[in-house]
């Protein structure tokens, strides 16, 4: 499944942040987004995931193909690790949670309540969720936050395996993952302020 973004304009809080953005993400490829804080990476990812409509432009190949992971992992502290994962596996109608547990070395923690996990362990659980969705395009927003070096290795390994199976990944991150990924610097696409005399529906 190829993800194609054409001439995208996105806004945060009614103000355009990025414009003229186009890229293509083919199966087996990873695309890493770079750019300073507040440039609109999160907004872009939420648009691609379908949570937010773009101002204009087209996003093709998204929808039921996307597995999104944002800043929060959607983990319920009163459920155990296995219960959390099983829930998402059933929601997405995918198979067993075994491979996901293996990939992030969560097997020893399965019966632990997620509330008792450390921040890094929670993050691993949140990333393991991607493996039970069975969806080809991963859209990840700062996936490595609070992960230690070995956990980052696990993550990179999981992404590599996903790409090898024909999946693809769109990742906003600042650290080097050791992936063969294309880089997309979004800074140049920063939206220019609208001209002032054009006093229209956007009030500018």
């Amino acid at each position: 499944m190829t993800l194609t973004v054409t001439d995208l304009v996105i806004a945060r809080g009614g103000v355009p942040v990025l414009e003229g953005l186009s890229f293509t993400l083919n199966p087996g490829r990873a695309l890493v987004l770079r750019g300073p804080n507040g440039i609109g990476k999160t907004t872009l990812l939420r648009c691609v995931a379908g949570l937010q409509p773009p101002v204009s432009g087209r996003i093709e190949g998204a929808g039921d193909t996307i597995a999104y992971a944002g800043h929060s992992d959607g983990i319920k502290p009163t459920l155990t690790v296995a219960e959390n994962l099983t829930f998402w596996a059933r929601v997405f109608g995918a198979g067993s949670i075994g491979p996901a547990l293996d990939a992030y070395e969560l097997n020893d923690l399965t019966d632990r309540h997620a509330g008792n996990l450390s921040a890094g362990q929670k993050r691993r659980l949140g990333l393991a969720r991607l493996l039970v969705t069975g969806r080809p395009i991963w859209v990840l927003d700062e996936p490595t936050v609070s992960l230690d070096r070995s956990a980052v290795e696990m993550f990179a390994g999981a992404v590599r395996a996903h790409l090898a199976q024909g999946g693809s990944a769109l990742i906003a991150t600042h650290i080097e993952l050791g992936l063969e990924a294309e880089l997309l610097e979004v800074g140049p696409y920063k939206a220019r302020p609208a001209p002032l005399d054009d006093f229209d529906g956007g009030f500018l």
């Binding site: 379908g50 983990i75 059933r90």
Partner: protein, 218 residues
Amino acid sequence: MIALLLRDLKLSLRAGGGFGLGLAFFLIVTTLVPFSVGPQSALLATIAPGVLWLGALLACLLSLDRLLALDWEDGSLDLLATAPLPLEGVVSIKALAHWITTGLPLVLAAPVLGVLLNLPAPGYGWLVVSLILGTPALSVIGTFGAALTVGLKRGGLLLSLLVLPLYVPTLIFGAEVARRGAAGMETATPLLMLSGISAAVIALLPFASATVLRINLR
């Protein structure tokens, strides 16, 4: 869908408060009524159906602000919105889980509390029937209110302000069924109206709730 329902039920069981708090609140309100209006049993018998309905309604209201807010805070709603479930289904299931954990226990507890308020004998059946038909509407309307206010930091009070006026028709017909039943009068008309409101609300309002939730997730 079933996975979501089971998860929500499990969560409210484990977090405590799901089943217990609403019921305890209902009990306390019912206990306070005689303190405020006096212990005359004839008076209590007259107002019992209305008081029990109002108590049930307020107990329902109590847990609404957690209905979607918890899933909002931990990011589950974002993930559910990108999951294969339609959001209309998600809010319906949420309302159902709320009814099972709040509405249903209230229905079961109401006759017991009716004894405390000296509810006349013919009223028990009608009270239970009216609550069974009416409380689902309360949960569904409440879910709409919760979806409207989910993104707000202090949405609890606003949620009550928005939801309570929407509860008026359900309360009027529900309490009317219980009151007429207790007085031994004919109940068919308000009963039909109550069922009609519940059916319409359950069928249509989830679409509004899902719309509002999508707007809030943007």
